[in-house]
Subunit: 208 residues, 2 copies
Protein backbone atom coordinates (compact mmCIF):
# COMPACT_ATOMS: atom_id res chain seq x y z
CA UNK A 1 0.00 0.00 0.00
CA UNK A 2 1.27 3.45 -0.92
CA UNK A 3 1.34 6.08 1.81
CA UNK A 4 2.09 9.81 1.51
CA UNK A 5 3.48 11.31 4.72
CA UNK A 6 3.25 15.09 5.13
CA UNK A 7 6.88 15.86 5.79
CA UNK A 8 8.76 18.76 7.37
CA UNK A 9 12.31 17.39 7.70
CA UNK A 10 11.88 17.55 11.50
CA UNK A 11 12.19 14.78 14.06
CA UNK A 12 8.51 14.00 14.48
CA UNK A 13 7.64 13.44 10.83
CA UNK A 14 10.89 11.51 10.25
CA UNK A 15 10.12 9.18 13.17
CA UNK A 16 6.58 8.77 11.83
CA UNK A 17 8.05 7.53 8.54
CA UNK A 18 10.25 4.99 10.31
CA UNK A 19 7.28 3.67 12.30
CA UNK A 20 5.29 3.11 9.11
CA UNK A 21 7.92 1.80 6.69
CA UNK A 22 7.52 -1.90 7.50
CA UNK A 23 3.83 -1.70 6.59
CA UNK A 24 3.56 0.84 3.76
CA UNK A 25 5.53 2.05 0.74
CA UNK A 26 6.19 5.46 2.29
CA UNK A 27 6.74 8.64 0.24
CA UNK A 28 7.70 11.75 2.20
CA UNK A 29 5.70 14.66 0.78
CA UNK A 30 6.69 18.23 1.55
CA UNK A 31 4.03 20.86 0.95
CA UNK A 32 5.13 24.19 -0.51
CA UNK A 33 3.52 27.49 -1.46
CA UNK A 34 6.43 28.09 -3.83
CA UNK A 35 7.51 31.13 -1.78
CA UNK A 36 10.96 29.70 -0.90
CA UNK A 37 13.03 26.60 -1.77
CA UNK A 38 12.89 25.37 1.85
CA UNK A 39 11.49 22.04 0.63
CA UNK A 40 14.97 21.22 -0.68
CA UNK A 41 16.13 20.71 2.92
CA UNK A 42 13.40 18.11 3.35
CA UNK A 43 14.60 16.34 0.21
CA UNK A 44 18.09 16.17 1.70
CA UNK A 45 16.73 14.47 4.82
CA UNK A 46 14.69 12.09 2.68
CA UNK A 47 17.88 11.18 0.80
CA UNK A 48 19.83 10.72 4.05
CA UNK A 49 17.16 8.41 5.47
CA UNK A 50 16.48 6.52 2.26
CA UNK A 51 12.84 7.46 1.69
CA UNK A 52 11.07 8.32 -1.55
CA UNK A 53 10.35 12.05 -1.74
CA UNK A 54 7.82 14.28 -3.46
CA UNK A 55 6.39 17.77 -3.13
CA UNK A 56 2.85 19.08 -3.36
CA UNK A 57 1.81 22.63 -4.24
CA UNK A 58 -0.33 24.60 -1.80
CA UNK A 59 -2.78 27.39 -2.60
CA UNK A 60 -1.41 30.96 -2.30
CA UNK A 61 -4.72 32.18 -0.91
CA UNK A 62 -4.38 29.84 2.07
CA UNK A 63 -0.95 31.31 2.85
CA UNK A 64 -2.38 34.84 2.71
CA UNK A 65 -5.29 33.96 4.99
CA UNK A 66 -3.04 32.10 7.44
CA UNK A 67 -0.66 35.05 7.76
CA UNK A 68 -3.60 37.39 8.28
CA UNK A 69 -4.98 35.11 11.01
CA UNK A 70 -1.58 34.97 12.73
CA UNK A 71 -1.23 38.75 12.77
CA UNK A 72 -4.77 39.22 14.11
CA UNK A 73 -4.22 36.55 16.80
CA UNK A 74 -0.67 37.63 17.70
CA UNK A 75 0.35 33.92 17.77
CA UNK A 76 0.76 31.31 15.03
CA UNK A 77 -1.45 28.45 16.23
CA UNK A 78 -4.65 28.97 14.23
CA UNK A 79 -2.82 29.96 11.06
CA UNK A 80 -0.63 26.84 11.24
CA UNK A 81 -3.72 24.73 11.83
CA UNK A 82 -5.41 26.13 8.68
CA UNK A 83 -2.34 25.41 6.56
CA UNK A 84 -1.87 21.93 8.01
CA UNK A 85 -5.44 20.90 7.18
CA UNK A 86 -5.05 22.36 3.67
CA UNK A 87 -1.76 20.46 3.20
CA UNK A 88 -3.37 17.18 4.33
CA UNK A 89 -6.14 17.72 1.78
CA UNK A 90 -3.50 18.28 -0.91
CA UNK A 91 -1.69 15.02 -0.06
CA UNK A 92 -5.02 13.17 0.09
CA UNK A 93 -5.70 14.28 -3.50
CA UNK A 94 -2.51 12.57 -4.69
CA UNK A 95 -2.49 8.87 -5.68
CA UNK A 96 -1.94 7.30 -2.26
CA UNK A 97 -3.92 4.63 -0.41
CA UNK A 98 -3.13 6.36 2.86
CA UNK A 99 -1.97 9.76 4.08
CA UNK A 100 -0.18 10.49 7.36
CA UNK A 101 1.45 13.24 9.37
CA UNK A 102 3.83 13.56 12.31
CA UNK A 103 1.42 14.94 14.92
CA UNK A 104 2.13 13.74 18.49
CA UNK A 105 -0.26 13.03 21.39
CA UNK A 106 0.81 16.18 23.23
CA UNK A 107 0.75 18.58 20.26
CA UNK A 108 -1.72 21.39 20.69
CA UNK A 109 -1.25 22.35 17.07
CA UNK A 110 -1.59 21.09 14.49
CA UNK A 111 -4.31 18.77 15.71
CA UNK A 112 -6.86 16.90 13.63
CA UNK A 113 -10.05 15.89 15.42
CA UNK A 114 -11.56 12.43 15.02
CA UNK A 115 -14.41 13.99 13.00
CA UNK A 116 -11.94 15.80 10.70
CA UNK A 117 -9.98 12.56 10.27
CA UNK A 118 -13.12 10.63 9.34
CA UNK A 119 -14.19 13.36 6.92
CA UNK A 120 -10.78 13.39 5.19
CA UNK A 121 -10.93 9.59 4.85
CA UNK A 122 -14.48 9.52 3.51
CA UNK A 123 -14.12 12.37 1.00
CA UNK A 124 -10.85 11.13 -0.49
CA UNK A 125 -11.29 7.36 0.02
CA UNK A 126 -7.95 7.12 1.86
CA UNK A 127 -6.84 6.06 5.32
CA UNK A 128 -5.55 8.92 7.44
CA UNK A 129 -2.89 7.71 9.84
CA UNK A 130 -1.19 9.52 12.72
CA UNK A 131 1.53 7.11 13.83
CA UNK A 132 2.65 9.28 16.78
CA UNK A 133 -0.88 9.97 18.09
CA UNK A 134 -0.31 7.47 20.88
CA UNK A 135 3.22 8.64 21.80
CA UNK A 136 3.87 11.33 24.44
CA UNK A 137 6.71 13.81 24.35
CA UNK A 138 9.13 11.69 26.41
CA UNK A 139 8.55 8.56 24.33
CA UNK A 140 9.16 10.49 21.10
CA UNK A 141 12.32 12.07 22.50
CA UNK A 142 13.66 8.66 23.61
CA UNK A 143 13.06 7.09 20.20
CA UNK A 144 14.53 10.07 18.37
CA UNK A 145 17.66 10.03 20.59
CA UNK A 146 18.14 6.33 19.86
CA UNK A 147 17.62 6.69 16.12
CA UNK A 148 18.24 10.07 14.52
CA UNK A 149 20.94 12.72 14.21
CA UNK A 150 19.00 15.89 14.95
CA UNK A 151 19.93 19.56 14.90
CA UNK A 152 17.81 21.55 17.41
CA UNK A 153 17.60 25.28 17.94
CA UNK A 154 15.75 28.53 17.38
CA UNK A 155 13.85 28.56 14.09
CA UNK A 156 16.12 31.15 12.51
CA UNK A 157 19.23 28.92 12.96
CA UNK A 158 17.78 25.60 11.76
CA UNK A 159 17.42 24.61 8.09
CA UNK A 160 13.75 25.06 7.42
CA UNK A 161 12.02 22.58 5.20
CA UNK A 162 8.30 23.17 5.13
CA UNK A 163 5.53 25.68 4.81
CA UNK A 164 6.27 27.26 8.19
CA UNK A 165 9.41 28.85 6.79
CA UNK A 166 7.39 30.17 3.87
CA UNK A 167 4.78 31.65 6.20
CA UNK A 168 7.56 33.49 8.06
CA UNK A 169 8.93 34.89 4.82
CA UNK A 170 5.46 35.99 3.73
CA UNK A 171 4.82 37.51 7.15
CA UNK A 172 8.09 39.48 6.98
CA UNK A 173 7.35 40.62 3.43
CA UNK A 174 3.81 41.81 4.16
CA UNK A 175 4.06 43.00 7.78
CA UNK A 176 7.80 43.52 8.44
CA UNK A 177 10.46 41.49 10.28
CA UNK A 178 9.30 42.72 13.67
CA UNK A 179 5.95 41.02 13.21
CA UNK A 180 7.65 37.64 12.70
CA UNK A 181 9.24 37.71 16.15
CA UNK A 182 6.00 39.00 17.70
CA UNK A 183 4.01 36.13 16.20
CA UNK A 184 6.69 33.41 16.69
CA UNK A 185 8.49 34.21 19.99
CA UNK A 186 11.28 31.71 20.90
CA UNK A 187 10.13 29.06 18.50
CA UNK A 188 12.33 25.94 18.61
CA UNK A 189 12.55 23.61 15.63
CA UNK A 190 14.38 20.46 14.68
CA UNK A 191 16.03 19.30 11.48
CA UNK A 192 17.04 15.71 10.86
CA UNK A 193 20.47 15.20 9.29
CA UNK A 194 20.28 11.40 9.13
CA UNK A 195 20.51 8.38 11.40
CA UNK A 196 22.34 8.73 14.70
CA UNK A 197 25.07 6.30 13.66
CA UNK A 198 26.01 4.73 10.35
CA UNK A 199 23.59 1.98 9.45
CA UNK A 200 21.42 2.48 12.52
CA UNK A 201 18.16 2.00 10.73
CA UNK A 202 15.65 0.53 13.20
CA UNK A 203 14.80 -3.12 12.68
CA UNK A 204 17.30 -3.61 9.84
CA UNK A 205 19.91 -6.34 10.13
CA UNK A 206 22.75 -3.84 9.67
CA UNK A 207 21.46 -1.89 12.69
CA UNK A 208 22.55 -4.58 15.13
CA UNK B 1 14.27 -0.04 25.99
CA UNK B 2 11.95 -2.68 27.48
CA UNK B 3 8.25 -2.38 26.75
CA UNK B 4 5.36 -4.40 28.20
CA UNK B 5 2.35 -4.60 25.88
CA UNK B 6 -1.00 -5.50 27.47
CA UNK B 7 -1.92 -8.46 25.30
CA UNK B 8 -5.16 -10.28 24.48
CA UNK B 9 -4.10 -12.59 21.63
CA UNK B 10 -6.39 -10.57 19.32
CA UNK B 11 -5.54 -8.73 16.11
CA UNK B 12 -5.24 -5.23 17.55
CA UNK B 13 -2.75 -6.00 20.30
CA UNK B 14 -0.74 -8.29 17.99
CA UNK B 15 -0.49 -5.54 15.35
CA UNK B 16 0.51 -3.08 18.09
CA UNK B 17 3.42 -5.37 18.97
CA UNK B 18 4.58 -5.52 15.34
CA UNK B 19 4.48 -1.71 15.06
CA UNK B 20 6.69 -1.34 18.12
CA UNK B 21 9.19 -4.16 17.72
CA UNK B 22 11.78 -2.21 15.70
CA UNK B 23 12.03 0.34 18.49
CA UNK B 24 11.54 -1.56 21.75
CA UNK B 25 12.30 -4.96 23.28
CA UNK B 26 8.63 -5.95 23.39
CA UNK B 27 7.18 -8.40 25.92
CA UNK B 28 3.53 -9.36 25.44
CA UNK B 29 1.87 -9.35 28.89
CA UNK B 30 -1.48 -11.02 29.41
CA UNK B 31 -3.37 -9.99 32.53
CA UNK B 32 -5.25 -12.69 34.43
CA UNK B 33 -7.50 -12.90 37.48
CA UNK B 34 -6.57 -16.59 37.78
CA UNK B 35 -10.20 -17.55 37.09
CA UNK B 36 -9.40 -19.53 33.90
CA UNK B 37 -6.32 -20.58 31.92
CA UNK B 38 -7.36 -18.43 28.95
CA UNK B 39 -3.96 -16.68 29.05
CA UNK B 40 -2.44 -19.89 27.63
CA UNK B 41 -4.03 -19.03 24.25
CA UNK B 42 -2.20 -15.70 24.33
CA UNK B 43 1.07 -17.50 25.02
CA UNK B 44 0.47 -19.67 21.93
CA UNK B 45 0.05 -16.55 19.78
CA UNK B 46 3.17 -15.03 21.33
CA UNK B 47 5.08 -18.21 20.41
CA UNK B 48 3.67 -18.19 16.86
CA UNK B 49 4.69 -14.58 16.33
CA UNK B 50 8.06 -14.82 18.09
CA UNK B 51 7.49 -12.38 20.94
CA UNK B 52 8.56 -12.69 24.56
CA UNK B 53 5.59 -13.43 26.82
CA UNK B 54 4.66 -12.89 30.44
CA UNK B 55 1.54 -12.73 32.60
CA UNK B 56 0.51 -10.37 35.35
CA UNK B 57 -1.96 -11.11 38.16
CA UNK B 58 -5.02 -8.90 38.57
CA UNK B 59 -6.93 -8.20 41.79
CA UNK B 60 -10.02 -10.40 42.41
CA UNK B 61 -11.90 -7.44 43.88
CA UNK B 62 -11.64 -5.59 40.56
CA UNK B 63 -13.21 -8.56 38.75
CA UNK B 64 -16.08 -8.65 41.26
CA UNK B 65 -16.71 -4.91 40.93
CA UNK B 66 -16.51 -5.03 37.13
CA UNK B 67 -19.05 -7.84 36.89
CA UNK B 68 -21.36 -5.97 39.28
CA UNK B 69 -21.05 -2.83 37.12
CA UNK B 70 -21.82 -4.81 33.95
CA UNK B 71 -24.96 -6.36 35.43
CA UNK B 72 -26.20 -3.00 36.73
CA UNK B 73 -25.49 -1.35 33.35
CA UNK B 74 -26.78 -4.22 31.23
CA UNK B 75 -23.76 -3.78 28.94
CA UNK B 76 -20.03 -4.48 29.39
CA UNK B 77 -18.42 -1.14 28.52
CA UNK B 78 -17.82 0.42 31.94
CA UNK B 79 -16.79 -2.87 33.54
CA UNK B 80 -14.26 -3.53 30.76
CA UNK B 81 -12.93 0.00 31.15
CA UNK B 82 -12.35 -0.49 34.92
CA UNK B 83 -10.48 -3.74 34.31
CA UNK B 84 -8.42 -2.30 31.46
CA UNK B 85 -7.19 0.62 33.58
CA UNK B 86 -6.40 -1.78 36.45
CA UNK B 87 -4.47 -4.06 34.05
CA UNK B 88 -2.46 -1.12 32.70
CA UNK B 89 -1.53 -0.16 36.27
CA UNK B 90 -0.41 -3.76 36.89
CA UNK B 91 1.85 -3.76 33.78
CA UNK B 92 3.19 -0.31 34.72
CA UNK B 93 4.28 -1.75 38.10
CA UNK B 94 6.47 -4.34 36.33
CA UNK B 95 10.07 -3.57 35.33
CA UNK B 96 9.46 -1.93 31.94
CA UNK B 97 10.56 1.44 30.58
CA UNK B 98 7.28 1.70 28.67
CA UNK B 99 3.83 0.13 28.70
CA UNK B 100 1.43 -0.11 25.78
CA UNK B 101 -1.92 -1.47 24.73
CA UNK B 102 -3.78 -2.23 21.49
CA UNK B 103 -6.46 0.49 21.67
CA UNK B 104 -7.47 1.92 18.27
CA UNK B 105 -8.60 5.45 17.30
CA UNK B 106 -12.20 4.34 16.87
CA UNK B 107 -12.50 2.24 20.02
CA UNK B 108 -15.14 3.53 22.41
CA UNK B 109 -13.87 1.16 25.07
CA UNK B 110 -11.36 0.71 26.47
CA UNK B 111 -10.22 4.28 26.11
CA UNK B 112 -7.58 6.08 28.12
CA UNK B 113 -7.85 9.86 28.24
CA UNK B 114 -4.82 12.10 27.80
CA UNK B 115 -5.04 13.00 31.51
CA UNK B 116 -5.16 9.32 32.52
CA UNK B 117 -2.20 8.60 30.23
CA UNK B 118 -0.15 11.42 31.78
CA UNK B 119 -1.08 10.28 35.30
CA UNK B 120 -0.02 6.68 34.57
CA UNK B 121 3.29 7.93 33.17
CA UNK B 122 4.01 10.27 36.07
CA UNK B 123 3.10 7.87 38.89
CA UNK B 124 5.05 4.91 37.50
CA UNK B 125 7.85 6.77 35.69
CA UNK B 126 7.10 4.95 32.44
CA UNK B 127 6.07 5.96 28.94
CA UNK B 128 2.53 4.89 28.04
CA UNK B 129 2.24 4.20 24.32
CA UNK B 130 -0.82 3.48 22.20
CA UNK B 131 0.61 2.54 18.79
CA UNK B 132 -2.81 2.23 17.13
CA UNK B 133 -4.22 5.49 18.53
CA UNK B 134 -3.71 7.12 15.14
CA UNK B 135 -5.10 4.25 13.04
CA UNK B 136 -8.79 4.00 12.09
CA UNK B 137 -10.72 0.79 11.66
CA UNK B 138 -10.07 0.44 7.92
CA UNK B 139 -6.33 1.02 8.26
CA UNK B 140 -6.07 -1.59 11.02
CA UNK B 141 -8.08 -4.09 8.99
CA UNK B 142 -5.87 -3.55 5.92
CA UNK B 143 -2.66 -4.07 7.89
CA UNK B 144 -4.04 -7.12 9.68
CA UNK B 145 -5.18 -8.67 6.37
CA UNK B 146 -1.70 -8.15 4.92
CA UNK B 147 0.10 -9.54 7.94
CA UNK B 148 -1.77 -11.91 10.24
CA UNK B 149 -3.70 -15.18 10.12
CA UNK B 150 -6.78 -14.31 12.16
CA UNK B 151 -9.76 -16.38 13.33
CA UNK B 152 -12.86 -14.16 13.70
CA UNK B 153 -16.26 -15.02 15.13
CA UNK B 154 -18.69 -14.84 18.04
CA UNK B 155 -16.89 -14.78 21.40
CA UNK B 156 -18.06 -18.25 22.38
CA UNK B 157 -16.38 -19.84 19.31
CA UNK B 158 -13.02 -18.07 19.45
CA UNK B 159 -10.14 -19.10 21.73
CA UNK B 160 -10.21 -16.51 24.48
CA UNK B 161 -6.97 -15.25 25.87
CA UNK B 162 -7.52 -12.41 28.27
CA UNK B 163 -9.50 -11.11 31.20
CA UNK B 164 -12.68 -10.72 29.16
CA UNK B 165 -13.10 -14.50 29.08
CA UNK B 166 -12.61 -14.59 32.83
CA UNK B 167 -15.22 -11.89 33.38
CA UNK B 168 -17.72 -13.97 31.36
CA UNK B 169 -17.00 -17.04 33.46
CA UNK B 170 -17.37 -15.05 36.66
CA UNK B 171 -20.58 -13.48 35.36
CA UNK B 172 -22.03 -16.93 34.55
CA UNK B 173 -20.96 -18.30 37.92
CA UNK B 174 -22.47 -15.47 39.95
CA UNK B 175 -25.47 -14.42 37.85
CA UNK B 176 -26.19 -17.40 35.54
CA UNK B 177 -25.46 -18.09 31.84
CA UNK B 178 -28.44 -16.00 30.71
CA UNK B 179 -26.86 -12.87 32.15
CA UNK B 180 -23.74 -13.37 30.00
CA UNK B 181 -25.70 -13.16 26.74
CA UNK B 182 -27.74 -10.21 28.10
CA UNK B 183 -24.57 -8.26 28.93
CA UNK B 184 -22.55 -9.33 25.85
CA UNK B 185 -25.02 -9.60 22.93
CA UNK B 186 -23.42 -10.67 19.60
CA UNK B 187 -19.90 -9.90 20.69
CA UNK B 188 -17.32 -10.59 17.94
CA UNK B 189 -13.72 -11.33 18.83
CA UNK B 190 -10.52 -12.19 17.03
CA UNK B 191 -7.72 -14.62 17.78
CA UNK B 192 -4.38 -14.49 16.00
CA UNK B 193 -2.96 -17.87 14.92
CA UNK B 194 0.25 -16.50 13.40
CA UNK B 195 1.46 -14.63 10.34
CA UNK B 196 -0.66 -14.76 7.20
CA UNK B 197 1.99 -16.69 5.26
CA UNK B 198 5.17 -18.42 6.30
CA UNK B 199 7.88 -15.90 7.05
CA UNK B 200 5.68 -12.87 6.37
CA UNK B 201 7.02 -10.83 9.24
CA UNK B 202 6.75 -7.13 8.28
CA UNK B 203 10.04 -5.47 7.45
CA UNK B 204 12.10 -8.64 7.72
CA UNK B 205 14.22 -9.74 4.76
CA UNK B 206 12.48 -13.14 4.65
CA UNK B 207 9.14 -11.38 4.21
CA UNK B 208 9.94 -10.31 0.67
Amino acid sequence: MDLGLLYSGGKDSTLAGLLLEDFYDVTLVTASFGITDAWEHARETADATGFEFDTVALDDDVAGQAVETMVEDGYPRNGIQQVHLHALEAVAEMEFDAVADGTRRDDRVPSVSRAQAQSLEDRHDVDYIVPLAGFGRNAVDSLVDATLDVQTGPSEEIPKADYEDELRVLLAREYGEGTVSEVFPDHTQTYVKGFSRAGARPGRPDAK
